[in-house]
């Protein structure tokens, strides 16, 4: 794809200024999402994945702040927009699905009404019948068998999987250019997860939206994404095509992560955990943040931040092992 990417994040830093100190949740990351592409963002809890999502939508809660960087969405730097302009983009051109549908839906309104709200705000449709038609149409698309009746249901009357479908319906109701899915299937059972992933795959084909999929599940990423970015302690450590990253992982963290996932298609597997724990983001380790847990630790890792190396075409890694001439 030669045209410029739909979303392009450059040097984003989002810090939380807490009483205990500055939490460097996202610390200088670059990330591109091309049109109609699904990009996975994987990492363990607390590595800053969700903060990236919230930064894009500029929904960082107090005491967090986007300190510096650029988020270019379709040629516009989102960080320079005022609140009114931003509101038009949120839910209209960029929408988000959260992990836990139960807490994201309002318990006192019917689901049809909640979806209609987004349509009303962003699509400039005022006729009630027309809105209703749109909502019923979208409910049908996300797999409700009897949308006329289900329009009138309250969130608590639905199972977790169905609630997540409502969230997807809401997010897609305005045909966004970019959909951010923040752990969309983590709270669901596997058979329901399979349903939701299948649904997202099909809808993506139909709507041609780009998706930024945030998850900790390597399986989900492998299944759905075209590209993947691996995040560790506020930084992206590796980025590339899905097959390149999974078949030829470069960063020691990516390697270790893939080796620590139990699989059903491999017999007699030997899992290798990563020693130690995820570091605190208030006082992250110097140099490369993974160095205290890294098998291939060298002296330079402690002293210098690794820069970006393009090892193959479109396959980037931030690791001193790939210093020019060494690999």
């Amino acid at each position: 794809m030669s045209s410029s990417p739909l979303l392009s994040i450059r040097g984003l830093k989002t810090y939380f200024f807490t009483e205990d100190g500055v939490v460097r949740a996202v610390d200088y990351i670059d990330l591109d999402v091309n049109r109609s592409e699904i990009v996975g963002l994987v990492g363990e809890s607390g590595c800053g994945k969700s903060t990236v999502a919230l930064s894009i939508l500029r929904l960082i809660p107090y005491p967090g702040k986007i300190v510096s960087g650029e988020i270019i969405f379709d040629g516009i730097n989102l960080l320079t927009l005022n609140e009114d302009e931003m509101r038009k983009i949120r839910g209209g051109r960029i929408s988000i699905i959260f992990q836990n549908p139960q807490t994201s839906l309002n318990p006192v309104f019917k689901i049809g009404y909640q979806i209609a709200e987004a349509v009303k705000l962003h699509q400039k449709i005022s006729k009630n019948e027309e809105i209703r038609e749109r909502v019923i149409n979208i409910l049908e698309k996300v797999g409700f068998s009897d949308p006329e009746r289900q329009f009138e249901l309250f969130p608590h009357e639905l199972s977790g999987g169905m609630q997540q479908r409502v969230m997807i319906a809401m997010a897609l109701s305005c045909r966004p250019d970019l959909l951010i899915a923040d752990e969309p299937t983590t709270s669901l059972d596997v058979t329901i997860q399979a349903q939701i992933l299948e649904l997202m795959k099909n809808l993506q084909k139909e709507f041609k939206s780009s998706i930024l999929l945030i998850t900790h599940n390597m399986g989900v990423v492998a299944e759905l994404c075209d590209k993947v970015a691996v995040m560790y302690a506020g930084k992206i450590v590796e980025y590339g095509d899905i097959i390149a990253v999974f078949k030829n992982p470069l960063h020691p963290y990516t390697k270790a992560l893939l080796q620590s996932v139990p699989r059903i298609d491999v017999e007699e597997q030997k899992l290798e955990g990563i020693p130690g724990t995820v570091p605190s983001l208030i006082n992250p380790p110097s140099g490369c943040r993974f160095h205290p847990r890294c098998k291939y630790f060298m002296k330079v890792c402690k002293e210098k931040k690794p820069s970006k190396f393009e090892v193959e075409k479109n396959h980037f890694v931030y690791c001193h092992l790939f210093e020019k001439g060494k690999f």
């Binding site: 399986g219 899992l271 990563i274």
Partner: protein, 323 residues
């Protein structure tokens, strides 16, 4: 064979009453565990897998008599636990331990690690004073922590370390049988592998018999010799791990296995997507409980509940397709 069996469960049932109306009369029952029978042989790790609400945890609690079963028998090493008095149970509980899902809520926040691990040691009169302290140190080292962690409180540890403390506590009484109820579900992937390996090593070292409960088939596959698949309070299939993955028989097991995303983008499998969701256990479907979601369902499935039958050696399935 009977000598090898450490735990045998016979037609175990647990119904929870559902109360409603003005006078809180019992209006129905949650059929959490419904007529479950199985055995665990010495030194074996048996996995229980199923989706949330299928009765895995209730089963575990019933085996330890933490909730009293409605009916059935739990025979541990020749003793029927259901007929035992509280006092007798206390003695036998020394031999049976449990590790819970969420280490943070299963560790008392006001007790130090030494107190947490020391409590069962003292309660079961295993050691006191200096000996107890030595034992705690030994346990901490066994699970990969240091003795200097003894006087800290649970909140000072990460999730993985907390789970290690819970494991140390479970092992403190030298049990022979351990139930691990989703021990890694709340942990991050990189930490998860460490805990699984630790459990595997300890199991081998002390020749423990283990009932391992998880919703994650890949974790179960890694840990267990034999697997039981549960659906809505019933066992639908049991087999040796390898057989279950190579040749799953029950339509639910097939769907479950095909639903698991494999962390390899070059593997493309045919996927069985189950329609609908797990029905409520208050009014479970008639006949085979899986029939409303099953693509092979026929008339008989709606009326008669299938029995667990041995289709191949050590491979049991409850499905009319194989009758």
């Amino acid at each position: 064979m009977s000598n090898d069996v450490l735990l045998e469960v016979k037609s175990l049932k647990k119904y929870f009453p559902v109360r409603g109306g003005v006078f809180l009369r019992t209006v129905g029952y949650v059929h959490a565990v419904d007529d479950v029978s199985f055995y665990v042989t010495r030194g074996e790790t048996v996995g229980v897998v199923g989706e949330s609400g299928c009765g895995k945890t209730t089963l575990a609690r019933c085996i330890l008599m933490l909730t009293k079963p409605t009916s059935g028998e739990v025979i541990y090493d020749g003793h029927n636990l259901i007929k035992m008095s509280k006092k007798q149970l206390r003695n036998i509980r020394k031999e049976m331990s449990i590790i819970f899902q969420d280490p943070f809520s299963s560790l008392n926040p006001r007790m130090t690690v030494a107190d947490i691990i020391g409590e069962p040691i003292e309660f079961h009169r295993i050691a006191r004073g200096r000996q107890k302290k030595e034992r705690i140190k030994e346990l901490l080292e066994m699970v990969g922590l240091s003795p200097y962690h003894m006087y800290r409180y649970p909140h000072e540890f990460s999730g993985g370390q907390q789970q290690r403390i819970a494991i140390a506590r479970a092992l403190s009484t030298n049990p022979r049988f351990i139930i691990a109820d989703e021990p890694v579900a709340s942990l991050d992937v990189s930490i998860r592998a460490g805990i699984l390996n630790l459990l595997k090593d300890l199991k081998r070292k002390f020749n423990l018999t283990c009932l391992f409960i998880s919703h994650d088939l890949s974790v179960i596959n890694y840990m267990c010799d034999r697997i039981m698949v549960m659906y809505l309070g019933k066992i639908v299939e049991t087999a040796k791990s390898r057989d279950l993955f190579k040749d799953p028989l029950h339509p639910y097991t097939k769907a479950l296995i095909s639903s698991i995303p494999i962390p390899d983008p070059t593997v493309r499998r045919e996927r069985i997507i189950l329609p609908g969701t797990v029905p409520s256990p208050i009014n479970p479907p008639s006949g085979c409980r899986f029939h409303p979601r099953c693509m092979h369902a026929f008339e008989k499935c709606k009326t008669t509940s299938p029995k667990l039958i041995e289709v191949k050696k050590d491979h049991f399935v409850a499905c009319h397709l194989y009758a």
